[in-house]
Amino acid sequence: MNPTLRHVIVGAGTAGIAAAEAIRKTPEAASITLISAESDAPYSPTVLPHLLAERISQRAVALRSAEFFDDIRCRLLLGRSVSALDADRRAVRLDDDSQIDFDRLLLAVGSEPLTPALDNPDGVRCLSFTRMTDLHDLRARLAPGCRVAVLGAGLIGMELAEALAGLGRGLQVLVVEQEQQVLPRTFNQEIAGEVLALFRAHGVRFQLGLRAVALEKAGGAVTLTLSDQRSHVADLVIGCVGVKPRVSWLAGSGIALGRGIAVDARMATNVAGVYAAGDAAEGPAADGSAGLNPVLPTAAAQGRIAGANMAGRSVQHDGWVPANFFNFFGRVAVSVGDNSAGPARSTVDRKANGGRGQLFFEGERLVGASFLGVPTDPGALSLLIRRRTPVREYAELLAQRPLEASRWLAARLQRGN
């Protein structure tokens, strides 16, 4: 292999760093350049709610130490945004019009917030909460007694609402969600209902089954109108209606785009030598379909696979399984796989040990599981779901003792028993 192979990675988040490390793990000599549009030391947006809640200090959130990048001989370019890709000339262009040539390129640019579709004649500022600058913005505006409206009760909206509720300072938090439940697609109604009760008990107010339709200035504050035509007054409005891959800059570059950057199980795009991983990538799921799964474990795994393949190995991702872990007010909620009850499915729903567990089966196979307030092992459950393991006969044991039973079954599978 060419000893001077140039690896360029756009995006210094979880996926980009995992790839850099995987490249360096191979014996090939190669140069690695890691570019981040942000000037912060590489960080993960996952830390934002925890920083806001003051659970961790700003100094403790760098994904890796500065020495780490020296150690793996990785050139780190911070505060430099890539604006275009020239696939034919094998170069990326930076915002200052300089160019960086590559032999292998990884697009690990993450995602950007979807903008809530609102009637906003006065141009009221609707904040978002996906990058460090958003956190700085929010903190600067978050006066004591502030009325905060969070649009969207998905993963980010709920983590944000929880952090705000924990801050005290007389903050009033309202969450608006167009579905009839919080965390739709993650939990089914029953567990979502218990999560909702938990938030309400901590003073968070909810408007479910309603969309935010308009924002207007009202003195120093904002009037938020919902689809039932009722209005709510807020001082701050934060849009958490979802994220989408940050790919608009790639239009016309020749890279095939679906909802994200289309990749195969090797994380390769349609253009030879160009790979994508993490939130930006639309890659294979464990069930064979392709799709987005913007969470850390997937970004890490895809990054690792991409890096290894870039450096000349040949490895495949075995596909992502949806999985989420929440810690709401000290109560852990875990969801793995597909938690919807369908006609061809059987469900086991148990209250045990002060919590609740639900298991979803298709025939003998586990396809989904969620637990609230009970210790369990989401990694073990993911494995059982990914490998379509027939474990229906242990449903009761899995529901009653989820931690031990899932670990036992996963370990048995790993060891080929």
């Binding site: 780490f68 850390l296 929440f326 810690n327 990694g379 670990r407």
Partner: protein
């Protein structure tokens, strides 16, 4: 610190999976005592029934570390993955990423925590009353034998082949003052090179299947004559060893030629399309022992070549497995040290192509063969025997055959028969070790 380490080279907490006695929580108690919150979890499931323990396996490429959003998880220079709970935000991404049950969650403090091997002195292993948990200190040994690799990269053997792993490992231990003797078979590719390219830094002699030990005899005698210490070492397959090449091997052993003969036993002629050999296990499907209405795989029991060699009164005879590299290395050292006759090492070499199993399964197959007593690990010095890895409670033979497509057709009766053969094999060695014990343990290298 993460980049330079070779994570394969590390000490390991070995857990005999599912071998715990019911309701034993000694490891958990010891861990709690040491670390207040136990990092090892007892899986005590009488309903299953299953009794075992799980904790972090210290992966070489830890998925938990890659998923952590705050860099709280890092691998130290010894390959131990540590979690700094002061930087943990309790997001649980590590627990999702780990599919091995290595991450635990402290609900009260909303933090993840995991095993750090008690800095190389795990309290759980010390407290384990049954030997299920063992701290295996292989790092020093593996480091010692990591370099030099006397063969180039990119040999034409199948990836993950035990013959290749064993060949490389053997000469790391044996060193450079040796001549390699090969015979037609899979592994000769490492000795031969391809076309005009050499793949070995050692002098190598390509023999026929029928004359390896004879050529070695001549070369070894000449080396002695001229006062050289250089060792003649064969790395030859079971076909040439047990079938057509057995006569010259038997002769060399009987004459007491000071050569080292390593047989890698993949139980058949694998590079010519998987035909049976004398060492193929009974019941196994091969091209020449097919499974159909008349035949159900091989009908004969395997020829026990290592025992036959021991009965020649050879200076040293041992069986070895790639799943037990310390044991393999120690035996190679003893083979080299025995200069007064032939030394024979029989390396168990599962062939995933011919045995019909996944590419990454050969180490596990090797381990299972030992754990089920299919392939006992022992050594004999001038006809005195010792079991080097006793198996007190064997796993059912089905745990072994299940891994291999070539046994897929076996019914319960055939499995029972195979289990009895394994028992007989083990008992035979046990009886020999009792009757003619190899008393003092050789000094460890």
């Amino acid at each position: 610190m993460t980049a330079g380490i070779n994570p394969v080279v590390r000490d390991t907490l070995a857990i005999a999976f599912g071998a715990c006695p019911p309701a034993c929580r000694e490891c958990v108690k010891a861990c709690e005592h040491q670390r207040s919150l136990a990092r090892i979890v007892a899986l005590d499931l009488p309903e299953a029934p299953f009794h075992g323990a799980v904790t972090c396996l210290q992966c070489s490429e830890p998925a938990c570390r890659d998923a952590c959003p705050t860099g709280a998880i890092a691998q130290d220079e010894k390959g131990v993955t540590r979690l700094d709970s002061g930087r943990c935000v309790g997001c649980g991404a590590c627990a999702i990423a780990c599919e091995w049950g290595g991450i635990n969650f402290d609900f009260a403090a909303a933090r993840a925590f995991k095993c750090d091997t008690c800095d190389g002195r795990p309290a759980c292993a010390a407290a384990c009353p049954t030997g299920v948990l063992r701290w295996v200190e292989s790092a020093a040994l593996m480091r010692q034998y990591r370099e030099p690799d006397l063969f180039t990269r990119g040999a034409s053997l199948c990836p993950g082949c035990v013959a290749e792993l064993g060949f490389r490992m053997a000469f790391r231990v044996i060193g450079e003052d040796a001549i390699v003797f090969a015979a037609p078979g899979c592994a000769c590719a490492l000795a031969n090179g391809f076309g005009d390219k050499a793949t070995t830094r050692l002098p190598a002699v390509m023999c026929l299947m029928t004359n390896g030990p004879s050529i070695m005899t001549g070369v070894a005698r000449r080396l002695r004559q001229i006062g050289k210490q250089t060792r003649c070492v064969a790395f030859i397959g079971d076909g040439a060893t047990a079938d057509v090449g057995f006569q010259p091997l038997s002769g060399a052993a009987e004459r007491g030629e000071p050569i080292v003969y390593i047989c890698y036993d993949n139980e058949g002629y694998m590079n010519t399309g998987v035909q049976r050999s004398a060492t193929t296990t009974a019941g196994a499907r091969t091209m020449t022992t097919p499974v159909g209405p008349h035949l159900k795989g091989k009908t004969q029991a395997p020829k026990e070549v290592p025992l036959l060699m021991a009965f020649h009164g050879a200076a040293y005879v041992a069986t070895a497995s790639i799943a037990y590299p310390e044991d393999f290395a120690a035996k190679l050292k003893r083979a080299l040290a025995s200069n007064d006759g032939l030394a024979y090492v029989h390396l168990y070499a599962p062939c995933y192509v011919g045995w019909e199993s996944p590419m990454d399964s050969v180490v596990e197959i090797s381990r299972r063969a030992v754990e089920t007593r299919m392939f006992p690990l022992w050594e004999a010095d001038h006809g005195r025997f010792r079991i080097t890895h006793p198996i007190a409670r064997p796993r059912p033979v089905g745990d072994f055959t299940r891994l291999l497509g070539r046994f897929r057709h076996l019914g319960p009766a055939e499995l029972d028969a195979l289990g009895r053969q394994a028992e007989d094999r083990y008992r035979r060695i046990e009886a020999l070790s009792a009757a003619m014990p190899l008393a003092e343990e050789h000094p460890r290298q």
